[in-house]
Symmetry: C2
Subunit: 337 residues, 2 copies
């Protein structure tokens, strides 16, 4: 075995913490009505933002969020070595169309709703491995383009079961740099694919909870940390049902996360007023909640140590129609000040 | 500017060449009739391989190709730190379903037909950056699942224009390791998104040639190399039309690649006998041609220095229906013995 930066089975401690120089978040009108609205950089008035299609609107959200993050960082885009991005649309077109004018080497990622943390893991490796001084990470989703693609035409006004989640319209973007004063990415645990055998595409939280548990417990075992090492642990996006399942699964393994754990999909909407059933979902949910809310809490030192676990459901509508179960994945990073 | 391993604007020289310990390739029945058939590890008799759907068949091809590569390398799968994979299906399900039982931390990638080289770039960074001793890289495509998804139901028997390419049924997989005797990945040039404004989804070669040119010329300028540094330069997959365009574009910039350049899509099929029009395409094309043909040529030292440039079209069927142009990308790696 040759030296690598791995601890335990699948966690990594960066040789030098990677700085998060800036973040940006833009969300849609429903997110504007939610409890976190004051933390986002921009809340849109409608789902089109002047574009002719929802897909074009999502691309615009990606583009403007990335441009805003770059602008906030004060780094010239010519000094950014890699752009790491992905989204939920088929062939990740929100990212590729939104970012086609950046003129930055582009690494496309797909981890479904885990993409945002996946991008920060790969970005951290590029920086810590001396392949980059600065990288930009991005992930997005859009309620209308996702519903159209994964479920039913919105015009049908289809009913949604109580276990379903509401895809967030929004994007989050971060600028990771070699130098800076923090907050810092210090540790990460990339996830394995975990298939719990769940086939209900309207219960993503249950389908992904097993992957979240696998990564969470691996992270604790690998690093020797316990839940109370962190001021806060966030998943994104298990929703209300998946959140409860994860608490139970962690408890069954001897880890009590009840007091300092929440889910970005739970935080994004007001369940009692917004009719979003099990809560928010989509690559843009944890991306905008981290870039908006969590990052500001870290900057203000209201949180000093945070674990972000992004969860993704690695299926498509064809696999569901063919009766396949839903493989899940979860990637985790620690962010500390 | 802090030291990173970058040369020029966007190329990288690895601090220690990354070893390609093994490769594996499995292709379909049409590829079996092509000129490279003797180089593939396995050629299937039909497009289903005993599965009920083309999507399930593609997942099986991915799974078996990865298992074969791991087996050939002699490395236990528990010693593999990352699995890096992607494909053309919506939400990359060929990879996620095919690899859900590997129990290896999984990083999903999407670069359309550039995914295979993208996976080797990210894998090289993980190894050279001391995040991994061993990684497995994979990319796949399937003629039937791709036609169904991107174009028309196969049952229609639709006509195909002469500029169209034939999606390869196949997968290629490589095992990259920190130690070994080569062939080695020595240099890479990640690509930027380049949109030539071409809207014809039946002329992908033309749409991607500009991205190939951008990465090729950047690679030469950054490294100070000329085309004759390499015994062979391969793109994948511009096809016959895109290949001719790239030769012209390179020539217009003062680089003559005519004598040592070919395209994996051109090599895969016999144009005169196989009715594949402009040649092969799909993530699985360069993946299987590299893993089958090129790697063996390197092992036998028939080639000593090879440049692989994988090209991707970052669109989907919705973007084409909405009248959008086709953004292209190209990622390059040098492989040397």
């Amino acid at each position: 075995m040759i030296f690598i930066k791995k601890v335990g089975n699948q966690s990594y401690i960066l040789s030098k913490p990677v700085n998060i120089a800036a973040t940006a978040s833009i969300v849609g009108p429903k997110e504007k009505e939610g409890p976190l609205h004051q933390f986002f950089d921009q809340c849109l008035e409608d789902e089109f933002w002047g574009e002719k299609s929802w897909e074009a609107a999502e691309s615009k959200i990606v583009k403007e969020t990335v441009n805003m993050a770059i602008s906030k960082s004060g780094i010239s885009s010519s000094e950014i070595d890699f752009c790491l991005a992905g989204d939920l649309l088929n062939q990740c077109i929100a990212s590729s169309f939104g970012l086609r004018e950046t003129n930055i080497p582009f690494i496309g990622l797909f981890g479904a709703c885990s993409t945002f943390v996946e991008s920060m893991i790969v970005g951290s490796c590029f920086i810590d491995g001396d392949f980059a001084n600065n990288v930009v990470c991005s992930a997005s989703s859009h309620f209308c383009s996702a519903e159209k693609q994964f479920r039913f035409p919105l015009e049908l006004g289809n009913q949604r079961p109580p276990s379903s989640q509401w895809t967030v319209t929004g994007a989050g973007s971060t600028i990771l740099t070699k130098l800076g004063t923090g907050p810092f990415i210090t540790t990460f645990t990339p996830g394995k694919i975990v298939d719990m055998g769940i086939k209900d595409a309207n219960n993503m939280g249950a389908a992904m909870a097993g992957a979240a548990e696998d990564t969470l417990i691996s992270h604790f075992k690998d690093t020797g940390r316990s839940p109370n090492y962190y001021d806060a642990i966030f998943t994104g996006d298990l929703g209300h049902i998946g959140k409860d399942i994860l608490i139970d699964l962690a408890s069954s393994k001897g880890y009590n996360i009840k007091s300092n754990y929440n889910d970005c999909g739970v935080l994004m909407f007001d369940k009692t007023k917004q009719d979003t059933h099990s809560g928010g979902s989509g690559c843009g949910c944890i991306a905008s909640v981290f870039s908006g809310y969590v990052y500001k809490m870290l900057q203000e030192k209201k949180y000093k140590k945070v674990l972000m676990i992004a969860t993704g459901a690695l299926m498509n509508s064809t696999s569901s129609q063919q009766g396949e179960s839903i493989p899940g994945i979860a990637h985790a990073i620690s962010v500390e000040v």
